[in-house]
C-alpha cells in the first residue's frame, strides 16, 4: 500500500490516475465486506448447535457435493486471473472468453447452491426450523447474492468491452471485477471450512 500513501508531486493538481483511485476504493469496500461476512459467520457459529427439532449439521451436509461446487468456484478464480492477464495484454477476444468462462463457473456454483437448498428443504431444514437453519440459509444466501452480483459484473464487463470503453481504461475494470471476485471466493473458502468441514 506504500504506493498510495503519498502524493506524487509530479502530477500537479491533475486528478490522479483513475484506475489507481478506483483500486483504493475497492480495497476499502472489501475491508467493509470482511466485517459483513465476519458477522454472518459469527452468528452461525453461535447457533451451530441450536438445531431444535430440526436436522443437525452432521445429518444434513453433503460434503462430497459441496466439495465439488467449492472446487468449481475456486476454478473460477483461475479463469478470472486468465481474463485479467489477457486484458493486460490487450487481448480483448481472449479476455471475453475467460470472462464468460468465469461467469459460467459462477452460475454453475449458484445452480449447485439452489440444488443444495432444495435438498435441505426436502429434508426438513428451512429458515424457520431452528436458529441453525436461519443462520445457515441467511449466511449462504448473502454469499450467493454476492456471487450473483459478480456474475452480473462479469457479463457487463464482457459486454462493455465490445463498445471499446475498456480499452480507454486499460483493462482496469477487469482488475476491479477480479478483486471483487477473488474476495467472494476467499469468503467461500472460509465458509466451506468453518461452516461445513468443521461441523460434521
Amino acid at each position: 500500500m506504500s504506493a498510495v500513501t503519498h502524493t506524487d508531486p509530479a502530477e500537479h493538481g491533475a486528478h490522479p490516475p483513475l484506475p489507481h483511485v478506483r483500486k483504493v476504493a475497492m480495497w476499502a469496500f472489501l475491508g467493509s465486506e470482511c466485517l459483513f461476512f465476519g458477522t454472518l459467520i459469527s452468528t452461525f457459529l453461535l447457533y451451530r448447535n441450536r438445531t431444535g427439532d430440526g436436522p443437525t449439521a452432521a445429518e444434513i451436509f453433503d460434503i462430497p457435493f459441496t466439495s465439488i461446487s467449492s472446487f468449481i468456484l475456486l476454478m473460477s478464480s483461475l479463469t478470472m486471473v486468465l481474463a485479467h492477464y489477457a486484458s493486460e495484454r490487450k487481448d480483448w477476444r481472449r479476455m471475453r472468453v475467460w470472462l464468460l468462462a468465469t461467469a459460467l463457473l459462477g452460475m454453475t456454483f449458484l445452480a449447485g447452491q439452489v440444488f443444495e437448498f432444495t435438498e435441505f428443504v426436502h429434508e426438513g431444514l428451512t429458515v424457520t426450523t431452528s436458529p441453525f437453519g436461519s443462520a445457515f440459509f441467511v449466511m449462504t444466501s448473502f454469499h450467493g447474492a454476492h456471487v450473483a452480483v459478480g456474475v452480473i459484473l462479469l457479463l457487463a464487463t464482457a459486454f462493455m468491452s465490445f463498445g471499446g470503453k475498456l480499452r480507454a481504461d486499460g483493462g482496469m475494470n477487469v482488475e476491479l471485477v477480479a478483486l471483487y471476485w477473488h474476495f467472494v471466493d476467499i469468503v467461500w473458502i472460509v465458509i466451506f471450512t468453518v461452516v461445513y468441514l468443521l461441523q460434521v
Binding site: T7, P16, L35, L40, R50, V127
Partner: protein
C-alpha cells in the same frame, strides 16, 4: 470559460439535484441536517412538555414511545451524522488542496440515499405510526408484533442510511489517500481532515456489523427466522452485541468531527498552533481503535458474567485517556494565546466544558455496580446529552459560525451569535444537569408519565423550561442566518486570519476550488505564508504578504459534469424500500424500485465523467 462553466453553474432545483460538486452536496447535507434538527427538536419539546408536570396528559403512551424513538433516531442519523458529513464534504477536499472528492457522482449518490432514507423514516409518522421500539431496537421490542410495520420502517431506514454512510466512507478514504495536493503529507493534514478520515474508517468497519443485525431483525419480522426469538432457541442478547459493536464506534463517529472542528477553531482564535498537534491526531486514531473494544459497557445489566464485565470496565476507563489527552491539548492551545472571543471560539470553549462533564459522567459508567444502578435512568440520558449535545452539537455550531463566511461569503452577526451561544448554554444546562439528579433519584427513562410525590416534580419542570430556552436559542440562530443573507458583513477571503488552505481562496469558493493547485510546505501552511517568528518567538507579518486572490486562467480545469443518475438510483431504492415494508403486495414496488435503481446505475456506468463541451 471554455470547459468549466457550461454546466457546473446551472442553478435552480435541477442544478441542485444533478450537482456533483462536493460543495453543493455539502450544502445539501447541511440544509437537510438543519431541517431534521427542527423535526427532532419538536419531538424533544413534545417529550419535555409531557414530562413538565406529574401525570402529564399531553401525549398518549403510544405517541410518547414513537416520539422518543424518533427523537433519538433523527438526532443521531439525520442530524449529527449529516451535519458532520456536510462539513466533511465541503471542506475535506479544500483542506487537502483538492478540487473535488475522489468520486463526485458516488458522493451525490450517498447524499440522495441519505435524503430518501431520512424521508422514509419520517413519513412513517403519517402511515400508521413511527417506530416505537427505541433507537437501539432491542429484541423482542423490535421483532414482535409483525402485523404493525413500524419497526420495519426503522430497520429498513437504518439499513439504507448505513449504505449511504459506507459509500461516503469509501469515498473519503480514497480522497485522503489519493487526492492530497503536492506536499500535503498525511501528518500535515489539518486535524479536522484527520478526524474525518478516522470517522470514515469507523463507519467502514462498524456499519456492516449492524447491517447484518438489521437484516436479521427484518427477516425475523417478515420471514419467520429465529435469530432473536428466545422461544425458538434464538438469543436476543446477540442483537445487543451486534448493535453496540456498531453503536459504540458510532458514538465516536458523532463526536470526532466536532473534536476536529474545535481543533481548527481554537488555534485560529488563540493565534497559536495547536498544542501537541501530532498527539491530538494520534489520540484520535487511538480512539478509533479502542472504540471497537468497549461496546459491552452498554450491556452491563444483560448478564455478561464477571470476567467480561471486568474487561469492559477496564477498556471503558482506558478510552478516557486519549480523550483526556485531547482536552489537555486544547487547554494548552488556549494557554498564553491572544484569545479573541468570537462566536466560534465561544462554542468551542462551551464544547470543552460540556464535554468534560459528559466525559466524567461517562467514566462513572465503567464502574459496573454503579452502572447497574444507573442503567435505564435519567442519569444515562444526562450523560449522553452532555457528550452529544454539549459535545457534538456545540462543536458543530462552532463549525457553522467558523465556516459560514467561507460558504456564503457573509459573516453571521456576532451579537446575535453570542446571544445564541449563551441562551443555548444556559438552556442546555437547565435541561440536562437536573437529569443527573433525577436519574440518581431513580427516575426511569422511557416512561411517559411519573406520579406525584416521588420528588421528580421540581427538576422535571426545570428541565422543561430549559428545553424551551434551547428552542429560543435555535430561533435566534435561524434569525441570524436569515438576516445575514442580506445584511451580513461581507467576509472576504480570510475573515478570521486563518491558518489552513480554505482561507486562501475566495468566499464562496469557485466551483473548482483552486485555480492553481497549491503546493504545501508545512502544516498550517497559510499561516506560515502570512507570518514568521522573530527571535522572541512572536509572530510578525511577512512584509510582502502573499496575495490570497487566486486568479489563474480557468480554461483547463476539467470538473465532473452534473448527473441525474445518482438521484435516480437513490429514488429507486426509496421505492423498493417502501415495497419491502408492505410485503408481499409490495413486491411490485420492490421490483419497480430495483429496476429504477439498475437503470440509474447502468446509465451512470455508461456516462463519461466529464462531458466534452458542446461549443
Amino acid at each position: 470559460m471554455a470547459s468549466t462553466d457550461h454546466t457546473a453553474h446551472r442553478g435552480g432545483a435541477w442544478g441542485w439535484i444533478t450537482s456533483t460538486d462536493h460543495k453543493k452536496i455539502g450544502i445539501l447535507y447541511g440544509v437537510s441536517a438543519i431541517m431534521f434538527f427542527l423535526v427532532g427538536g419538536v419531538e424533544a419539546l413534545l417529550i419535555r412538555t409531557q414530562l413538565a408536570l406529574p401525570n402529564g396528559d399531553v401525549l398518549s403512551a403510544d405517541a410518547y414511545n414513537q416520539l422518543f424513538t424518533m427523537h433519538a433516531t433523527t438526532m443521531v442519523f439525520l442530524v449529527v451524522m449529516p451535519a458532520a458529513a456536510a462539513f466533511t464534504n465541503y471542506f475535506l477536499p479544500i483542506l487537502l488542496g483538492a478540487r473535488d472528492v475522489a468520486f463526485p457522482r458516488l458522493n451525490a449518490l450517498s447524499y440522495w440515499i441519505f435524503f430518501f432514507g431520512g424521508m422514509f423514516l419520517t413519513i412513517s409518522f403519517f402511515v400508521g405510526g413511527a417506530p416505537d421500539g427505541g433507537w437501539f431496537g432491542y429484541a423482542p421490542l423490535s421483532t414482535q408484533v409483525s402485523e404493525v410495520v413500524r419497526m420495519d420502517y426503522w430497520a429498513l431506514g437504518l439499513l439504507i442510511l448505513g449504505l449511504a454512510s459506507v459509500l461516503s466512507a469509501v469515498n473519503f478514504i480514497t480522497t485522503v489517500f489519493t487526492m492530497r495536493a503536492p506536499g500535503m503529507t498525511l501528518m500535515r493534514m489539518p486535524v479536522f481532515a484527520w478526524m474525518a478520515f478516522v470517522v470514515a474508517f469507523l463507519l467502514l468497519f462498524s456499519l456492516p456489523i449492524v447491517t447484518v443485525g438489521l437484516f436479521q431483525v427484518f427477516l425475523d419480522r417478515n420471514l419467520g427466522t429465529l435469530f432473536f426469538q428466545a422461544a425458538g432457541g434464538g438469543d436476543p442478547v446477540l442483537w445487543q452485541h451486534l448493535f453496540w459493536l456498531f453503536g459504540h464506534p458510532e458514538v465516536y463517529v458523532l463526536i470526532l468531527p466536532a473534536m476536529g472542528i474545535v481543533s481548527e477553531v481554537l488555534p485560529v482564535f488563540s493565534r497559536k498552533p495547536l498544542f501537541g498537534r501530532s498527539f491530538v491526531i494520534f489520540s484520535g486514531i487511538a480512539i478509533g481503535f479502542m472504540g471497537f473494544g468497549v461496546w459491552a459497557h452498554h450491556m452491563f445489566t444483560s448478564g455478561l458474567g464477571p470476567v467480561a464485565e471486568a474487561a469492559f470496565a477496564l477498556t471503558t476507563m482506558f478510552i478516557a485517556v486519549p480523550t483526556g489527552v485531547k482536552i489537555f491539548n486544547w487547554l494548552g492551545t488556549i494557554w498564553g494565546g491572544s484569545i479573541r472571543f468570537k462566536t466560534p471560539m465561544l462554542f468551542s470553549l462551551g464544547f470543552i466544558a460540556m464535554f468534560v462533564i459528559g466525559g466524567l459522567s461517562g467514566v462513572t459508567h465503567s464502574i459496573v455496580p454503579a452502572d447497574t444502578q444507573q442503567h435505564d435512568t435519567y442519569y444515562v440520558v444526562a450523560h449522553f446529552h452532555y457528550v452529544l449535545f454539549g459535545g457534538a452539537i456545540f462543536g458543530l455550531f462552532a463549525g457553522v459560525y467558523y465556516w459560514w463566511p467561507k460558504i456564503t461569503g457573509r459573516l453571521l452577526h456576532e451579537g446575535w451569535g453570542k446571544l445564541h451561544f449563551w441562551t443555548m448554554l444556559i438552556g442546555f444546562n437547565l435541561t440536562f444537569a437536573p437529569m443527573h439528579i433525577l436519574g440518581l433519584a431513580g427516575m426511569p427513562r422511557r416512561t411517559y408519565r411519573y406520579p406525584k410525590g416521588l420528588g421528580f416534580e421540581f427538576w422535571n419542570f426545570v428541565a422543561t423550561v430549559g428545553s424551551y430556552l434551547i428552542a429560543v436559542s435555535i430561533l435566534v440562530f435561524l434569525w441570524n442566518w436569515w438576516r445575514s443573507r442580506r445584511h451580513g458583513e461581507v467576509a472576504g477571503n480570510d475573515p478570521w486570519d486563518g491558518r489552513t488552505l480554505e482561507w486562501t481562496i475566495p468566499s464562496p469558493p469557485p466551483h473548482y476550488n483552486f485555480a492553481t493547485v497549491p503546493t504545501v510546505h508545512s502544516e498550517d501552511s497559510f499561516w506560515h505564508d502570512k507570518y514568521r517568528e522573530d527571535e522572541a518567538g512572536i509572530a510578525v507579518p511577512v512584509a510582502a504578504a502573499p496575495t490570497t486572490l487566486d486568479t489563474a486562467a480557468e480554461e483547463d480545469i476539467h470538473m465532473p459534469s452534473p448527473s441525474y443518475y445518482p438521484a435516480l438510483s437513490g429514488f429507486g431504492m426509496f421505492i423498493a424500500l417502501i415495497g419491502f415494508v408492505y410485503l408481499p403486495v409490495g413486491l411490485v414496488a420492490v421490483a419497480a424500485g430495483l429496476m429504477v435503481t439498475m437503470w440509474g446505475l447502468f446509465g451512470w456506468a455508461m456516462e463519461p465523467l466529464t462531458r466534452e463541451p458542446h461549443e
